[in-house]
Amino acid sequence: MTDWLFLTEVFLAGLGSGALYAVTGVAFVLIYKATRVVNLAIGEILMLGGYAFFGAAAGWHLPAWVALPVAILAGALVGAVVERGLIRPMIGESPISVFMVTIGLGSILAGFVQIVWGADPLRLPEFLPSAPIFIGEAYVAPKVAYGFLAAMVVVTAFVLGLRFSRGGVALKATAADQAAAYSVGIDVPRVFSLSWIVACGVAAGAGVLVGAIGGISPTMGVFGLSVLVVVIVGGLDSMAGALVGGLFIGVVEAFAGTFLGGEYRFLVTFSILILILMIRPYGLFGTHEIERL
């Protein structure tokens, strides 16, 4: 039946956008888990990643497989500088102050990008294969499909990495109890630094995927806000939550957009957010003691 085909296509498209939410959500979760900071500048770091890729691929004419690591490194570098220069001096300050610092950082990054690359919306050079993909008879937009694959690889790597790698265990230990982590010899400031570096690198990489689909502009940081909804639904400190939350919101938005109309997409998303906050204020997979701002 064609209707089933159509529903499958809508579902797959939803999974595709959900995967982008999930991979950006990872960046939120990583920083929150390690440092208890909600980094509202993630959207702008994502934007910076898109622009760094653009600069490397269109400005320096590097091939995409070089430009992508350049973008990720640029994001990681910003993460390192921001953590060392802005966030570490704020340790011990109220969460609201740190939160405000990240908002300010977002504006600075948006301004910086506008000064360097201008205010015009831009397109990234095409680097993903453009041949249409069919799963059975169902059409999937190629960029969305490759974005989905890349996002799944990254998120799975993080879920596994947190569980099995030394760094992941150190991060979980720091998240559980900083003093205890110190006492068993974990270098807590280094964990903080690394979580910012890795998270901002991931966000920058996500920026390349998002930019490949929707183009880049100094205002694309608002994407970060949609992702904040996803991580609150999934649980601010849960990798699995970011994955499930991202895919879930992606699919719900796709069906809402198709059957109710685009104007109801956000209405449905935010209704879910309110519902989740009422039933499980710590998110679907989050731990109970999360302090919310």
């Binding site: 301004g111 397109r123 059409y139 999937v140 190629p142 183009g215």
Partner: protein
């Protein structure tokens, strides 16, 4: 006689200092006969891509006018403030500029600002305003007597597109894709009605939330509807290219069209493969258009040898029409009040804009309902005319 103690001297000094700091200046600071064009200009924020061009366009036109001796011998001074495309910042800029200068002309940056400031414009009665908004609602001389727009309003832009489509393919199936913003929704309802009277069928209306990145589900809806023509409105670039690319991959044979703010040549060029054949409505000729006589475009090309955006042209044309209104008002020996300026503007009939509009224009109301369909030529990498100039009846 009062005994001046040190305390008195100090407090007198402090008061004088405060006066200076607050900007109390000699009254003759403003050159008496200057005409002031104020502007709430979005040099940062979501509309900055256009604001920067608009700013340059206004400055260039005023330079041309002032170098030639001004408007009826009076120089035009441009005073602008950045607004970040926020209505509150635009209002603050308006208040600041109008409190410091005797403003006669004003450029506003958004529909929201134009609507918000309208009662204040009427109360002052001394300013003629235009701006970046082509909102259909503003095209009502009764409700907005002291405003105008330098082109067709959004519904008129759709009107021009629909007339072209009706000529090309009778009974064509249409889809409207628009952003869920005031800008996006503006022409949809009246255009649906107009499509019906022209014998066209609107088979799908797709709304996208502002800032949405992935449009795959919307493209699926578009494929189901199988339109002959798809009109985008309320966007600049994203998500149009991805929409077109995916629709083409699905084998959809629709033609894709846009309205003024998505018609800049370099913006369309950035759509990549999707750009080829992209069409839309433009009230002005493009920077590179050398067809026929266009002395103003020549001047622009001399001043700026590199391509200038459609936003630049919009700023330039707006300043031109404002100055023309001021010139006619002064030439008739009238004072520069809002009502007189508007009457001056409305007296423009079969007026040659130096080739900026492709045909002579008249402004009987608040808009200039003229436009032409352009289509992107992938080989030449330029928007090329696809129709004659289309003039809507007032």
């Amino acid at each position: 006689m009062r005994n001046w103690t040190r305390r008195h001297v100090l407090s007198a000094g402090a008061i004088a200092g405060a006066g200076l700091a607050l900007g109390i200046r000699p009254l003759a600071a403003q050159v008496a006969d200057e005409i002031v064009l104020g502007g709430s200009i979005p040099l940062t924020g979501v509309f900055a891509f256009a604001g920067i061009g608009i700013h340059a366009g206004i400055q260039d036109y005023l330079k041309i006018v002032n170098d030639a001796g001004g408007v009826e011998g009076r120089k035009v001074k441009y005073v602008a403030e950045d607004t970040g495309y926020k209505v509150d910042a635009s209002v603050a800029a308006f208040n600041k500029i109008t409190s410091q200068e005797k403003v006669s002309l004003y450029y506003g940056d958004s529909t929201g600002f134009s609507k918000t400031i309208n009662p204040e414009l009427e109360r002052r009665g001394s300013i003629l305003m235009a701006g970046a908004s082509f909102a259909s609602e503003l095209n009502d001389p009764k409700k907005y007597p002291l405003q105008f727009m330098a082109g067709p309003d959004y519904s008129e832009m759709f009107g021009i597109l629909l007339r072209y489509i009706a000529n090309e393919k009778a009974g064509a199936r249409l889809a409207f894709v628009y952003s869920d913003t005031e800008f996006g929704r503006d022409p949809i309802v009246p255009s649906e009605a107009l499509a019906k009277t022209l014998g066209l069928e609107v088979v799908e209306k797709i709304v996208t939330p502002p800032g949405s990145v992935d449009v795959s589900t919307e493209v699926l809806k578009l494929r189901r509807a199988r339109p002959d023509f798809t009109i985008f409105h309320g966007y600049v670039l994203a998500p149009i290219p991805e929409f077109i690319a995916q629709a083409k991959q699905m084998g959809l044979a629709s033609r894709f069209m846009g309205t003024f703010w998505s018609m800049d040549n370099s913006t369309v060029e950035r759509m990549g493969e999707a750009a080829d054949g992209f069409m839309g409505v433009m009230p002005y000729r493009y920077y590179y258009d050398t067809e026929g006589e266009s002395p103003m475009l020549e001047k622009i090309r001399q001043m700026r040898p590199e391509y200038q955006s459609t936003a630049y042209l919009q700023g330039f044309v707006t300043a031109l029409l404002m100055c023309e209104a001021a010139k006619r008002t002064l030439a008739a020996g009238k004072e520069l009040t809002g009502a007189n300026l508007k009457a001056g503007l409305n007296s423009i009939k079969d007026f040659d804009t130096g080739g900026l509009f492709g045909v002579p224009i008249s402004i009987p109301g608040n808009s200039v309902p003229i436009g032409r369909i352009y289509a992107f030529d992938g080989k030449a990498k330029q928007m090329k005319p696809a129709s004659d100039w289309i003039r809507l009846e007032a």
